[in-house]
């Protein structure tokens, strides 16, 4: 009889504890969201006020409300080079092709040099030399060589993406656990099977981590090349707006590309979760950002 009383008490305190921890979690979530909303409100608000009062000249620095109007104008009236959707699609297509081309070559060459010491030592210094060249300058050369079409944009985006992915793939192969290599060799694997079962899955962690940065570089490559010379694209709109002293449209384009990059980032995270589902859950808080 007496033993049942503390037992029910324990159950009660269990549910109490659960409720308390739920309340604490809810409070925490609330605070996070209040903070998240406050950041842009304060930032945009002070920008707006500073330009209204005259501390900042809105002719040079734009104004949040004017940026919004520019955005609305871009989507309703379009641009001198066709609708905003057409231009956006052109830029995304260039960035995407460049991303795929750069990632493909980066992965293949990275895996190859990572596994072959001779090749790595022969080509290593040259890759370092190429990497030290400011690659944006290649943009001018590509325009001269290939004209104003899609190809030079894809090429510049691919060049920017290549090095990020290449170095990660290379390092990924180098970091493979030698124990695992020994294990699969004893099991009788051929070099190709070693790559398939050990080297590539192991390097994938590194490669996929690099894709997050790589897509940002692809967008930069496409935009820069469009600024240098194009017939369509967000970069072209930015260039023309800059010529017209229209910072609001430049900011509007920046916001549009920001949304695109965020969406791409989301897709890459989905891919990461799928391909790397074997990994233990994140231990570091940094990855949550």
């Amino acid at each position: 009889m007496s033993s049942t009383i503390p037992a029910t008490k324990a159950i009660e305190s269990d549910t109490d504890a659960q409720a308390a921890s739920r309340r604490a979690r809810r409070r925490h979530t609330q605070r996070v969201w209040i903070g998240r909303i406050l950041v842009p409100v304060v930032f945009l608000g002070s920008w707006q006020i500073a330009t209204e009062v005259g501390w900042l000249d809105k002719f040079f620095f734009g104004q949040p409300t004017a940026v919004w109007q520019a955005l609305v104008h871009l989507f309703t009236a379009g641009t001198a080079f066709g609708s905003i959707w057409l231009n956006l699609w052109v830029t995304i297509k260039e960035a995407l092709y460049g991303f795929l081309l750069g990632t493909g070559t980066g992965v293949v060459i990275g895996l190859l040099l990572g596994q072959n010491r001779l090749l790595a030592e022969v080509f290593g210094p040259y890759i370092k030399v190429l990497n030290s060249i400011p690659r944006i300058i290649l943009g001018s050369i590509f325009i001269v060589a290939f004209g104003l079409g899609t190809f030079p944009k894809v090429l510049l985006a691919a060049v920017l993406v290549f090095f990020v992915v290449f170095f990660n793939a290379f390092q990924g192969v180098r970091e493979v656990d030698q124990n695992l290599i020994a294990n699969i060799r004893v099991l009788g694997a051929s070099p190709l099977q070693i790559a398939r079962h050990v080297t590539i899955p192991s390097a994938l962690t590194w490669i996929i981590a690099s894709l997050h940065t790589a897509f940002g570089f692809a967008i930069i490559g496409a935009l820069v090349e469009e600024v240098l010379g194009a017939q369509h694209g967000i970069g072209l709109i930015i260039k023309v707006a800059q010529g017209n002293f229209d910072p609001d449209t430049v900011f509007a384009c920046m916001a549009i590309m920001g949304v695109v990059t965020l969406a791409a980032e989301y897709l890459i995270t989905l891919l990461e979760r799928r391909v790397l589902s074997w990994r233990p859950p994140n231990r570091s808080e940094a990855q949550a950002i």
Partner: protein, 271 residues
């Protein structure tokens, strides 16, 4: 014996030298010679850094000897030795493969069909007591469970030779005892020749037919002790209290003690 002469390991005059980063020659093992009869369970005990693992590397064919020969089943070792399974000290499971896929890897690499390999792997997982864990990833298992997966993955190929490099070194005492008993049970079913490296003397005596003592660096064989405890030995925990066990353990320890002290003095002096 299940594998006949194919499972006989003959090592003669085996020497392995390495070049250290500052250009000096380091002799890891010197003139090691011994024979392991088919189906024999042989433990190698020695102080840290005496070249036990190096010896194992030569038998598996992962490394090449500087001098001397290793012969397995009458064939000199050249490249990876066929029919050998290796259990490493560290986890050598593939973290991106499920438990089932890990165990399947060996048969698949030998060209067995997916379906057949999968059912064989399931059978082996059942034998090591891991039914129901097929779809887990290694990081979701405890250390002891991971060792069992490793054991299933090593034994599924029905090797004629099983090389084990301190396989249970990282386990807690209780798990270790359980794993040792399970290993003995599985070994008695398949009877491969076993080379088992350990620095745990109790483990060596409890499991083996023969214990080899290696000298401190450069390693060579100092003594060989036959362990005449009857088989099947059953529970490893209970053997430890038998008088014959204690007697053998005592004799081997007196041989090993000098080497351990010498190795310790060398490293302490260097530091």
């Amino acid at each position: 014996m299940a594998h006949g002469d194919a499972a006989r390991i003959e090592i003669s005059g085996l020497t392995k030298r390495f070049l250290t980063p500052n250009g000096e020659v380091f002799t890891a093992i010197q003139d090691v010679s011994f024979v392991i009869e088919p189906g024999q369970f042989c433990a190698i005990v020695g102080p840290t850094g005496c070249g036990k693992s190096t010896t194992l590397g030569q038998v598996s064919g992962l490394e090449r000897p500087s001098a001397g020969t290793v012969t397995v089943g009458g064939q000199p070792v050249d490249g990876i030795t066929d029919g050998v399974s290796f259990m490493f000290q560290a986890d050598a499971l593939f973290p991106w493969k499920t438990v089932l896929a890990n165990v399947m890897t060996g048969p698949t690499l030998r060209g067995m069909g997916k379906k057949e390999a999968s059912s064989l792997a399931r059978d082996w997982l059942r034998r090591v007591g891991l039914s129901g864990f097929e779809d887990r990833y290694p990081h979701q298992l405890s250390g002891g469970m991971r060792k069992r997966v490793g054991m299933a993955a090593a034994l599924i190929n029905e090797p004629r030779i099983l090389l084990m490099d301190e396989p249970f070194g990282a386990l807690d005492v209780q798990t270790k005892a359980i794993m040792q008993t399970e290993l003995l049970g599985l070994w008695e079913q398949l009877r491969p020749s076993v080379l088992f490296i350990t620095h745990d003397l109790d483990e060596a005596v409890a499991l083996s037919d023969r214990v080899l003592i290696m000298t401190s660096s450069p390693g060579s064989i100092k003594h060989s002790f036959d362990i005449d405890l009857p088989r099947p030995r059953g529970d490893v925990q209970t053997i430890r209290h038998e008088p014959r066990f204690l007697e053998l353990q005592d004799r081997i320890w007196s041989s090993l003690k000098d080497e351990v002290e010498r190795a310790y003095a060398a490293t302490a002096g260097a530091a």
